[in-house]
């Protein structure tokens, strides 16, 4: 049984002009101890998916319009706010994409860490708490942890803020850690250190991880399975090995081709996917990728490609995924 099952999840946002459906029929599952990578174009709904799981969609604009999120046998969407509060931070924790929005700018780092700590270890005294905080900051590679506790978020570099967030999420090891671009602000050596730390916690505690990133190299390194999203839908799901050796969806193929390689020629144009992401207000009918897809046919405009269980127990939402198999071979 999956630890977390996201089933046909749909989410809408109200904007000044209209209500736009952002997530459409998103389905994936997460097993215990597994690392699920989520990749996709900016704005495709990765963060919204994780906010929906956390019950933190911005109110009142954002709303779940369909589907379920099953965790521990219950549909989290049916939980009352105080029930969700019990889940958050204890069973499911999240590292947010923009640390400045999650850290309080007018409160010292130490105070913020200790507030979280207080929730999980109310019996510890202040001196113990300070020591725990110092240890946590040390663990995520922050120099001079004791000094940092007395500082405000703006006094830290971007990467350090991100690591403070990681430290905060790890005060209590959850069942599921949702990490939204956790290493985007970090340099490669610290990134390697953080990835190792997450893997270590997984080994020790069987924690499952949803790892959201646009860095495919990081996905290749850390994920067991990968969900590729496009414009609010799942385009493809596969094990990391399969996805990188044989991407089936034209969008995934485009993504993999766009990665700049260290062996490439500097200052030359990189490969891209032509066109731009359609806005949610005017999505193309049928397959949402069709105005950018080189393989598109008439049927792509008429029918939404179903999320096929394709070859090797993987899934892909494309009418012509079989062509990819031929392509590669």
């Amino acid at each position: 049984m999956a630890l977390l099952q996201v089933q046909n999840l749909s989410v809408s946002f109200d904007t000044d002009e209209a209500t736009v459906g952002v997530l459409d029929d998103v389905t994936f599952q997460l097993a215990q101890g597994e690392t699920l990578g989520v990749v996709g174009e900016s704005g495709c709904g990765k963060s919204v998916t994780s906010l929906a799981i956390m019950g933190l969609l911005p109110k009142p604009a954002g709303r779940v319009t369909g589907g379920e999120i099953v965790f521990g046998g219950d549909d989290l969407l049916s939980y009352r706010p105080e029930q969700m509060r019990n889940i958050r931070g204890r069973r499911i924790s999240m590292i947010f994409q923009e640390p400045m929005t999650a850290l309080n700018p007018v409160q010292r780092i130490g105070r913020q860490l200790m507030e979280t700590l207080q929730l999980h270890r109310p019996q510890s005294n202040k001196y113990e708490q300070i020591e725990i905080c110092v240890e946590l900051l040390d663990r995520v590679g922050i120099p001079e942890p004791r000094q940092r506790l007395t500082e405000y978020p703006h006094q830290l570099s971007g990467g350090m803020r991100q690591r403070v967030m990681i430290a905060m999420a790890l005060i209590h090891v959850p069942d599921i850690l949702i990490a939204d671009e956790p290493t985007t602000a970090l340099d490669v050596t610290i990134q390697a250190q953080i990835l190792e730390l997450i893997e270590e916690l997984q080994r020790e505690n069987g924690m499952a991880v949803i790892f959201i990133t646009h860095d495919l190299a990081v996905i290749a390194e850390i994920a067991d399975r990968v969900v590729v999203m496009y414009a609010g839908r799942v385009a493809e799901e596969a094990t990391a090995l399969e996805l990188f050796s044989q991407p089936l969806h034209p969008y995934t193929q485009g993504l993999l081709n766009s990665i700049p390689s260290l062996g490439g020629i500097p200052k030359t144009q990189l490969k891209t996917i032509r066109g731009m992401v359609p806005s949610f207000a005017n999505m193309p009918s049928g397959c949402r990728f069709r105005n950018r897809c080189e393989r598109a046919q008439q049927i792509c405009a008429q029918e939404i490609p179903k999320y096929f269980g394709a070859k090797y127990a993987r899934s892909v939402a494309c009418h012509f995924w079989q062509d990819s198999v031929v392509d590669v071979k």
């Binding site: 963060s47 050596t189 390697a192 390194e221 766009s258 700049p260 062996g263 200052k267 990189l270 806005s279």
Partner: protein, 402 residues
Amino acid sequence: MSFLARLGGGCQMNDIKKRNEIDSENVTENEIYIENVSYIPPLLEVQGLTKLFPVKQGIIPRTVGQVHAVDDISFTLERGETLGLVGESGCGKSTVGKSLLRLVQPTHGSVMFEGRDIVGMNRGELRALRRDVQIIFQDPFESLNSRHTVRKILSEPFIIHRRGLKAEEKQKDEQGTEAERKQNETLSPKAEREKKVCELLNRVGLDESAANRYPHEFSGGQRQRIGIARAIALKPKLIVCDEAVSALDVSVQSQIVNLLLDLQQEMDLALIFIAHDLAVVKHVSDKIAVMYLGQIVETSTSEDIYRAPKHPYTEALISAIPVADPTRRPDRIVLKGDVPSPIFPPSGCRFHTRCRYALPRCSEETPLLELATDNSSGGSAACFFWEDLKLPHSQTKEIASK
């Protein structure tokens, strides 16, 4: 000094001094005459840039020390050139970037933009400078006013620098066709701005309908495009990209990188490109400076630094680059030891606490950034032993070949 000589295109120390003295008479011209020799200063010339942040402690805050965020950094940048700036989180990259616009006030050193020192500029001069020098931040929240629509955000530069727009339009009109000229003449200032905003949005790959929306209605990556649109609005000469593409997924990243490369060609734009994705940095940069704890430890061309790193820190950095291939677990050089404190930086070579090649001398003497005189196309490294080390070792080579 040798570093400056190499990257500065023949600019000598006493020239700089002299230029400082005659500075004020010639601020309007880019060309400055020294002893009857015509001299065109580089677009940007940074000399001994240092920024110390005070560390305060106690109930009545008292300065107990200083963060050596940037410590004696020098480099030059020519028009249309890209300098990549890489290094560990907290090593001072953003502080360097911000100093170039005087968003932080340097403690020591000079930052010459087109021959004028920005360190002593008054408010008016700074405002003019910020037309030419723009910065795009890593955290788009920091830079976009959340209460303004995208239209307002993108119109602002044209309103603040009204005169500039006119001049530029005029220039364009002279080149444009008769029909275009007619069309432009009939536009009211407001309609003209509206047209500009739409052009900008299209240029960075956003729909024109985005103009009516607020920053929080966009995803992180889309906000970053808005930031880029605003930065290029006034056709600057230099843009500091502080992790500007870090929040973008690869296909958009490659579009934005292509866009920056295009703009660079079109506008002879110089870039300072700060990022931790070393593959991207390599792709966009002509030369790269590697920073460690507030100092530059190595500079080279972007080709050479990956193929033949000379400084042990560069070597470790390159070995940590993740590669998009799940069958390969890279053999990393894991940096041992704690990240040292920028308040009490280690003695001698600042990297000695974590360097796997460190010898006693490294903690006693400070290696200077020296021109590397091997066969490669130049560059400099601040390590006593770079010549003997024969970097890179096998795993780094493998990564570089990927």
